[in-house]
């Protein structure tokens, strides 16, 4: 299962919301879709879910075009929007049963599917509660359950972690990992970049409708970081280490923290490795040597203008 997004463009009047976006992802992958507000993430996701029509370009889900065969494409996509179900007068089970009916499931099959999805998303115990009475985390699970009812091979999730408490975020992360292991291709947008970097294999960063950078997290982190920050915690001789670091040519700045030293150096991962090698060769006893600042968040801050 491959999802190919090809030269996608969407105009709203004179405003170009999505501008010639192309990227690919496939089964078992979790792709982070990152960008500041108004970057075009939701528009792209709505186009993928066949809710909006692109001005030009196309997206093919396992070869099925969202422009030419939207009915076929929407059977392959489960869409989780950024808004959560809020009905006061419908229970979790009734809500899922309604959507199962809307997807054309009937009889025993419908009941079995709803039961299985409730069990998978851990909703069985709260299936009789009304949606309005649920916490955000629970509502998010209901939303995910709804998107999984027709067993789509592709999941498109718009800001699923927004507003969730840490426990709910961990639960969601676990569910996404299981779904990814089951072979689903998952596109997920989020503002919580640390969260995304923990679950995503790759990321696409967009701004003003254009892709700024894309690839695996390692790939997109590498070329962007001209200056790296390293945190070093020595067992002893902290003063000596501080003085010695100041003498190294590619070290830009050295800051003494409580029990560690923050070093800013220019160069690549090889330069970081070389620094550690020199410290050990010089007899410093290093407890912790941590490369800091090559995560998704710093890449995002580096590449976007905001």
């Amino acid at each position: 299962m491959h999802v190919n997004i090809l030269n996608l463009r969407k105009d709203f009047g004179a405003t170009r919301a999505v501008d010639d976006i192309s990227f690919t992802f496939s089964s078992g992958q979790i792709i982070g879709f990152v960008g500041p507000n108004g970057a075009g993430k939701t528009t792209t996701m709505r186009i993928l879910a066949t809710l909006d029509e692109p001005t030009s370009g196309d997206a093919k889900i396992d070869g099925v075009s969202i422009v030419e065969v939207p009915e076929g494409a929407r059977r392959l996509v489960g869409y989780v929007p950024d808004s959560l179900p809020m009905h006061r007068d419908i229970s979790v089970h009734e809500y899922l049963d309604f959507f199962a009916r809307a997807y054309g499931l009937t009889g025993v099959q419908r009941r079995q599917v709803v039961k299985n999805i409730e069990a998978f998303t851990n909703l069985t115990d709260i299936r009789e509660r009304t949606l309005y009475a649920l916490s955000k985390g629970m509502k998010q699970r209901v939303s995910l359950a709804r998107a999984l009812l027709h067993d789509p091979p592709v999941l498109v999730m718009d800001e699923p972690a927004a507003g969730l408490d840490p426990r709910a975020r961990v639960e969601l992360r676990e569910l996404l990992r299981i779904l990814s292991d089951q072979g689903k291709a998952i596109l997920i947008s989020s503002h919580i970049l640390t969260e995304l970097s923990e679950i995503c294999d790759s990321a696409v960063i967009i701004e003003q409708g254009r892709i700024i950078t894309a690839g695996t997290l390692q790939e997109i982190a590498k070329p962007q970081v001209e200056q790296q920050t390293v945190l070093i915690r020595p067992l002893d001789r902290q003063d000596d280490l501080y003085q010695m670091l100041l003498l190294i040519p590619n070290v830009v700045a050295v800051n003494r923290l409580e029990n560690q030293i923050e070093v800013k150096i220019t160069g690549s991962d090889e330069d970081c490795s070389g620094l550690l090698e020199n410290l050990i060769r010089d007899g410093y006893r290093i407890v912790e040597f941590k490369q800091h600042g090559s995560d998704l968040e710093s890449v995002f801050m580096n590449v976007t203008k905001g």
Binding site: N7, L51, E53, E68, I90, F98, R146
Partner: protein, 502 residues
């Protein structure tokens, strides 16, 4: 037992999911329960009050009196509560982004609308069922026959059904809260007028109940009227349902197709009906009534048409016929500003043409003011065309960056307002006296003063000049739209594929 449960399961599977969801929500919500209990209490109270009055119970019309009160309560509750409940729920759902999720299921927009309608009908049946024991009681009290009870209940049911579909249409209109409240108040006033009129038609001296419905059951005249009400009600419900469906359909769909097919068919069928009626009563009046209705509808249609989309989406373009014969025909039935203007204008022209031909074929039919009124209708059509196309021209030429295409109707209304109020009032203050000629550039003038000699002909002359003027200025635009109405060419598709493979 197993076969019974299997049958029920099959029925359950075939039910529209929207009906199931709506009814589940209705019975779990407090609102319906409160209304139902209040309704029962009110009926119980009404019957109780009648029974405690000895003079009433001894009367031979006791059943009839109680029936009138009970039917009034039932009609009031059904006519105001059910459509409002259905419409408000739909409007709230439309405001919620989650409604989009329905469009990525296998549900079609028409299933959503019919599901909402059926749910409203089931709630109405629930209210009717709650009323039934009391209605039976009225028969036992004497003074009312069973056919009257059933026929009047059926008549009310049709009116309530139309009102439910009206509520759904208002709920579907994409507007802000203030505009929806204004529409809601309009609906409330309209419903109140409908309620009072219906009550008067049923219970006033000489009304339906007075005339003894039971004795008319074997007359063709009665059944013709009954079938007319049923057919008319069904046609209105169908039209409102199609309009509602068009409003909630995604932009990428050809929203105009079902509405225009329905309106064209209704035009033809009602035209045939009016023609038969006209021959039967030997009068031009039925044809004039038919024409008035259609010219009004299509004049309003022009305001909608100029506010339609300017370009067709790729999904719609793919469905444009490649066949050279079918494509020009399809042009009339596709969404789009030019398509809508051409279709509505054609319907107005055909309607006027029909009256013209009819007058030639049956010149002996006695006429009163009909020829002048037909002239007024002609000016109405000309003005509707001129003002709407003029508005489109102004928006395209001068306001393209400031006013979105879906607000062109507002410019048309402003132009119409200037012609109807600003110009006559300015002249009134300048001249110090009133002259009806000042309304000659407004569609209102010929409709009000069609009996005045020469007024309509002046109005037609001004309207024709105005229509030719905006028509000529818009001609290049029409040509562009007509020549651009074609499916994506093979070359475009090939280029698109080539771009993608790069």
């Amino acid at each position: 037992m197993k076969s019974i449960s299997e049958t029920f399961e099959k029925i359950d599977d075939r039910l529209n999911p929207i009906v199931v969801k709506e009814l589940r929500q209705a019975v779990q919500g407090r609102f319906l329960i409160v209304v139902l209990i209040s309704f029962l209490c009110l009926q119980l109270l009404a019957v109780g009050l009648f029974l405690t009055d000895k003079a009433v119970t001894e009367s031979f019309t006791a059943g009839r009196n109680v029936f009138q009160v009970l039917l009034g309560i039932l009609l009031g509750t059904s006519l105001f509560f059910v459509p409002a409940y259905t419409g408000i729920r739909l409007a709230n759902e439309r405001a919620d982004a989650n409604v989009d999720l329905l469009f990525i299921t296998t549900l079609r927009p028409q299933s959503i609308i019919w599901g909402k309608f059926l749910a409203g009908i089931v709630i109405t049946i629930l209210l009717y069922s709650a009323c039934m024991p009391f209605m039976t009681f009225t028969y036992l009290l004497r003074g009312v026959d069973l056919p009257s009870v059933f026929i009047l209940l059926a008549l009310d049911f049709i009116v309530v059904a139309v009102s439910i579909q009206c509520g759904i249409l208002i709920g579907c209109i994409p507007a802000n809260r203030v505009f929806k409240v204004i529409l809601g108040v309009g609906w409330l006033v309209g419903t109140f007028i409908g309620f009072v009129s219906l009550i008067a038609a049923m219970f006033a001296p000489g009304g339906l109940l007075d005339s003894g419905i039971g004795s008319q059951l074997d007359s063709w005249k009665f059944w013709r009227g009954a079938l007319g009400v049923l057919g008319g009600g069904s046609a209105i419900i169908g039209l409102l349902a199609l309009l509602s469906t068009a409003l909630i359909s995604p932009l990428s769909a050809n929203r105009a197709l079902p509405v225009r097919i329905f309106a064209t068919t209704a035009w033809g069928l009602t035209g045939v009906g009016a023609a038969i009626w006209s021959i039967e009563v030997n009068s031009l009046t039925p044809i004039v009534v038919w024409a008035t209705l259609h010219i009004l509808v299509h004049s309003i249609g022009l305001f909608v048409a100029v506010s339609e989309r300017e370009t067709l989406g790729r999904r719609i373009r793919r469905t444009i016929p490649r066949n050279w014969f079918l494509r020009p025909l399809a042009f009339f039935f596709y969404s789009g500003d030019a398509n809508g203007v051409v279709w509505s204008s054609l319907m107005i022209i055909l309607t006027l043409l029909f009256i013209g031909i009819w007058s030639i074929v049956f010149p002996y039919m006695p006429t009163g003011n009909e020829p002048e009124f037909i002239g007024a209708l002609t000016s109405l059509g000309l003005y509707a065309f001129s003002y709407t196309l003029g508005a489109l021209l102004i928006r395209r030429r001068f306001l393209a960056d400031r006013v979105a295409s879906n607000y062109t109707w507002v410019i048309a209304l402003i132009l119409l307002g200037i012609a109807t109020t600003v110009v006559p009032l300015s002249l009134f203050f300048l001249e110090g006296n009133w002259d009806k000629e000042w309304l000659v550039a407004s569609p209102l003038g010929p409709l009000l003063f069609f009996a005045t000699e020469g007024y309509v002909s002046n109005s037609i002359a001004i309207g024709t000049v105005f229509a030719i003027f905006v028509g000529v200025l818009s001609l290049p635009w029409f040509v562009r739209r007509i020549t651009g109405f074609r499916p994506p060419t093979e070359k475009t598709v090939r280029n698109s594929v080539a771009n993608k493979s790069k």
